[in-house]
Amino acid sequence: MSDLSGLYQELILDHSRRRLGDGELAEPHATHHELNPTCGDEITMGIRLDASGTVLDEIGWTGDGCSISMASASALTELAAGAELERVRELIDGFRTMMRSQGAGEADEELLGDAIAFHGVSKYVMRVKCAMLAWVALEACVAAASADDSRS
């Protein structure tokens, strides 16, 4: 079982139960629905920015999926809620880089904090998409919100 505990680290199992950010966000500035067609896992992500439009004020998501995908959405919420958009983009890039590493090298703990627990998932090629689901949805939300000039 030592092998499997590299994938399902305690922090991941905790997040899969805590589901930080779980719940639909009222009046979001951007939403995005992302689906993993191989398993049917899905997430709908909503974000709100602050008045300046430079800080990701709130994240809310609803989703249904495996422990990895739901834990990843929870960890994402912990990291990105309240962060500046520039920082959020760095987090997304950093998380994606880690998930593409196939378990090689060291994860960027300074940037990703506890979310480096997902480094172990990157060795399981069939599960990388599970971990990325929420992040891809967030990326689309950030892009949409940034492009939306009508927000006041």
Partner: protein, 431 residues
């Protein structure tokens, strides 16, 4: 293949047949591999691998093209393969068309009917022409491969797609079929054995009902032909599809069965070389079946290998294969239904089913269940198994499926159930 072996797995098939499958003799994550994913793809015996290689080493040449001695040899081998496969399913060799897989075979019928509906072909295509008011009937349990082509056919022709409802087990009866099939029905398509529930459809009864309304019947036989004796002529189906790689054969080849007069009338969806009699700059006329459907270079070595897979199965005897799998099906149901906190979808215990079970572990996603089993050396399928509507109907998103075949042992089934019993504890779900 000669069968002089006396030791058996369960009194039915020889245990040493596992030696014919080198793939099975490996470790997965530090455990002996228990391969329980044959419903997705089966492993191939050495005889099948050798047959393909031997053809390529000694007999490979362009089939049905040219007139050389070499072409004679390759064409004979290719057509003998067709005859072998035809005999296996109670068909004439003109009733067997090579496809790239079963999905392709189903699409050939759907696309051919769309062509006929668009006015391609002469009066012989009348039986295939659909329009507004006509109905295509499928079940709620279909694999996407036996659903989407019919959705598309309905969209192209204005016909209506209707559904035989399934119950909370995901199964259906001839009465359910009779509630939908009627005078407007022009085609009924359904899976012979469900790849999710293992349910065996009342095929002969549906054929009788459909034919009473002059409707055509297409059978998705992917999960039946590899596992039990199937005779298409006896069942009376008009078309059927199955795949080589689920019956010990290679990938890249599937089979479309069609009654001779229907295949001769169905417009070929894909056109090109080797399908024709006369071609002018303006038009072409087509050969009789099966050649009219086999445009371009065919999967020749794969056909040779598929025929060898058929000989291997015939050597075991399909009655014995079926009996072996019935025993495993009983064990799968007994063992998994005993695991606390696991929901078994499909026919309830005591009802007949194929040797596959799909389970839901409430509180644990199928991907996580599969990952845990994988860590124990047990290979299963997780997901919706290309049957999203059925999962939705059952209130599920994904399930974990174990499927058996000729080489599956009782011990492997027990390992599956034992590992399943540990899943909820590992993920901290339930008491």
């Amino acid at each position: 293949m000669t069968l002089d072996r006396t030791t058996t797995i369960d009194g039915l098939l020889p245990t040493d047949l596992r030696r014919d499958f080198p793939y099975l003799d490996q470790e997965l994550n530090g455990h002996p591999l228990a391969y329980l994913d044959s419903g997705a793809t089966a492993q191939r015996p050495i005889a099948v691998l050798d047959a393909e290689r031997a053809y390529l080493e000694h007999a490979n040449a362009a089939v049905h093209r040219g007139a050389s001695t070499l072409v004679g040899t390759s064409t004979t081998a290719f057509e003998e393969a067709r005859e072998t496969v035809a005999r296996f399913v109670g068909a004439g060799s003109r009733e067997i068309v090579w496809a790239s897989n079963a999905t392709d075979a189903i699409n050939m019928v759907a696309l051919g009917m769309a062509d006929a509906s668009a006015g391609i072909g002469g009066p012989e295509t009348e039986i295939f022409r659909l329009g507004a008011g006509d109905e295509i009937v499928v079940t709620e349990a279909e694999h996407h491969a036996d659903l989407i082509p019919w959705q598309r056919l309905a969209a192209k022709t204005g016909a209506t797609l209707r559904f035989i409802p399934v119950n909370d087990h995901g199964t259906w009866s001839i009465d359910d079929a009779a509630s939908v099939i009627g005078p407007r029905t022009r085609l009924v398509a359904f899976g012979h054995v469900s790849n999710v529930t293992g349910f065996l459809a009342p095929a002969a009864e549906v054929v009788e009902l459909a034919h009473r309304h002059d409707a055509l019947v297409m059978l998705d036989a992917c999960q039946s032909v590899p596992h039990r004796p199937v005779d298409f002529a006896e069942l009376g189906v008009d078309f059927a599809a199955f795949s080589a790689h689920k019956m010990l054969g290679p990938t890249g080849i599937g089979v479309l069965y069609g009654r001779e007069h229907l295949l001769d009338a169905l417009p070929p969806a894909r056109t090109g070389g080797s399908t024709i009699t006369t071609v002018t700059m303006e038009s072409a006329s087509f050969l009789p079946a099966p050649q009219r459907f086999e445009a371009g270079t065919q999967p020749v070595s794969q056909a040779i290998a598929l025929a060898e897979a058929v000989r291997y199965l015939d050597g075991l005897g399909m009655q014995r294969v079926h009996a072996h799998e019935e025993a495993l099906a009983g064990l799968l149901v007994d063992e998994t239904s005993r695991v606390a906190g696991v929901r078994l979808v499909g026919p309830p215990p005591g009802s007949p089913r194929a040797a596959l079970v799909s389970v839901d572990v409430p509180g644990v996603h199928a991907h996580d269940v599969g990952q845990f089993l994988d860590s124990q050396g047990i290979a299963v399928r997780v997901g919706h198994h290309c049957a999203q509507p059925l999962h939705r109907r059952l209130g599920l998103r994904a399930t974990t499926r174990a499927s058996a075949y000729v080489y599956t042992t009782a011990d492997e089934v027990r390992r599956f159930a034992a590992a399943l019993a540990e899943v909820r504890g590992f993920f901290g779900v339930g008491a």
